[in-house]
Symmetry: C2
Subunit: 326 residues, 2 copies
């Protein structure tokens, strides 16, 4: 079975999905759908570009539409809208709004008899799965999530909005002592500041007040004020030469014990990624395969990674999976 994929939105994540779909032996990339003028969008692989409006007439041409919009304003509207016409996959990550998003998407998908997979990626997504598996196996324990070392695009954007800043990259970095204590099964209580530090590389306008910029960054609520933050001013050339990529990663560490406390167990799932959007795009692509299979079996409604048997992510048969991976 060939799964025909559409991609809606063509930023970094859309490009990551494009690469993953083109590499999948069982998928065909129908096209990129954009809210921009299609003539202005050049695709990496030469994939065809359509206007997002064309989707209305292409419901029979696409098996799964992968939604590569942002969680703040795009996906809350986009996912229910397109779940009413297509099987869809998104990477919605605004944790507090998941119940509302799930309910809206579930209603639309059920009415249309489609599958909508929400909140996939690595966190939420693979990290969530590891938290669930660990808690289900060992009820008496505690999970810790560390992010980084990696570029936070949200934090980089926040710095860019400061007056006098030309460009910026923000790295989230786990505190080594905290990581070690957790890995040793010490179950420490950790504050936000004790878990991560934030490193900022900032290109300022000529003549800008660097002390003011540094102060504004370090005191920014939610983003930086609860962290030990370092600010390093660099040139635009240095930024391009040393900070062009979007590496990321992190670890979910679960520290649990047997029922009577007689034995301790530490479970760790960790990622070291050269490219956050390419890895995330690969995960969305695997869940698109699952969405197509589930819908072909007659299932519908909103799903998360928790609700999908792992075999659905693979292009292989049950027999092949048992042979190769069991």
């Amino acid at each position: 079975m060939t799964t025909r994929i559409g991609i809606l939105g063509y930023g970094n994540l859309g490009k990551g999905v494009e690469k993953a779909v083109n590499a999948a032996p069982d998928m065909e990339l129908v096209g990129i759908f954009s809210r921009r003028n299609p003539a202005d969008v050049k695709t990496v692989s030469g994939a065809k570009v359509y206007s997002a409006n064309d989707l209305d007439n292409m419901t029979d041409d696409i098996d799964v539409l992968i939604l590569c919009g942002g969680s703040a304003t795009d996906l809350p509207v986009m996912t229910p809208k397109y779940a009413a016409k297509f099987n869809v996959v998104d990477s919605f990550d605004t944790h507090a709004k998941v119940p509302e998003h799930f309910a809206n998407v579930d209603k639309a998908a059920k009415e249309a008899n489609k599958i909508a997979v929400i909140s996939t990626g690595w966190d939420p997504g693979m990290f969530s799965l590891n938290r669930l598996y660990a808690h289900s196996i060992l009820p008496d324990g505690k999970d810790y999530t560390f992010w980084g070392r990696g570029v936070s695009q949200g934090h980089s954007d926040a710095i860019r909005r400061i007056e006098g800043v030309v460009d910026a990259r923000q790295y989230t970095v786990p505190v080594p002592a905290a990581l070690e204590a957790v890995r040793n099964g010490e179950n420490p209580e950790l504050t936000t500041r004790q878990k991560h530090t934030r490193e900022c590389y900032v290109v300022a306008e000529e003549g800008a007040d660097l002390a003011r910029i540094e102060k504004e960054i370090k005191e920014m609520p939610n983003y930086f004020s609860d962290y030990d933050t370092t600010v390093t001013f660099i040139t635009e050339e240095e930024l391009l030469a040393n900070h062009a990529g979007l590496p990321h990663g992190g670890s979910v560490i679960y520290s649990g014990q047997s029922a009577d406390g007689s034995s301790k167990h530490v479970i760790e799932y960790s990622l070291k990624l050269d490219s956050n959007p390419e890895f995330t795009g690969s995960i969305l692509t695997a869940f698109a395969r699952a969405a197509a299979k589930l819908n072909a079996e007659g299932a519908n409604g909103c799903k998360t990674a928790f609700d999908i048997a792992p075999a659905y992510l693979s292009p292989l048969s049950g027999e092949e999976i048992r042979h190769q991976y069991l």
Copy 2:
């Protein structure tokens, strides 16, 4: 819903399951079933002990029977036999015989409208899941599995069968340089010898020929001859004092890249376990919960971890799972 559990077999694994079931808020331990005389079996928790023969009359009292026998001779017979009467879970780990075991169990479970989950534990089981997830996300990559540092019960038993040996503990140890190369994404080709070493602690009979014992161990085909093996003779007191536990662990490391090779990604899942049988028993217990839920929904047949949506392992509702783990 309370899931009523029976445990068949009461070795180390059966005791691990007993602890996990007693700790689960949604489970009730009906009893331990043994092929020994029930009067001779003392349970850790005071659970009731029955003869295995009593199972024939208890099909209405047990929702899931957890089979704690060995893969060599017990499970190939036991799992199909009991899948004809109960939902069952086993830890079958003879890789080459999985297709045959799956087919036999599937037939019995389907005819009886029961669920049979086979080959659960951490390897096969959680490690298998991690191999599948990683390959499904990044098709272009390679997985490596390292076991240890931990006690291999099979290798310890093999040493005990040598003439002049009173007792023994064998530790499987990953080679640090191999682990590091894999973690760095170097995708090395590794021989058996390059991946693991084997450390043997042996208590010999008084006057035994130590040189002969050491030679027999090191030259034992399949078990030791392909490895760098060290043999250390110790006293029975030392063995009890320093090697009483059954710790284990290991890592599945997947090293993959994006479709065009422009970015590399390393995924690692690792375990550090104080007690192999207690951790394995906890996994079997979580899959017993899944078996009961699946069967209550009307599903039947043989399943592996690949076929079971992760949410089935948890006692929580979908809403609670999304709230706590997403």
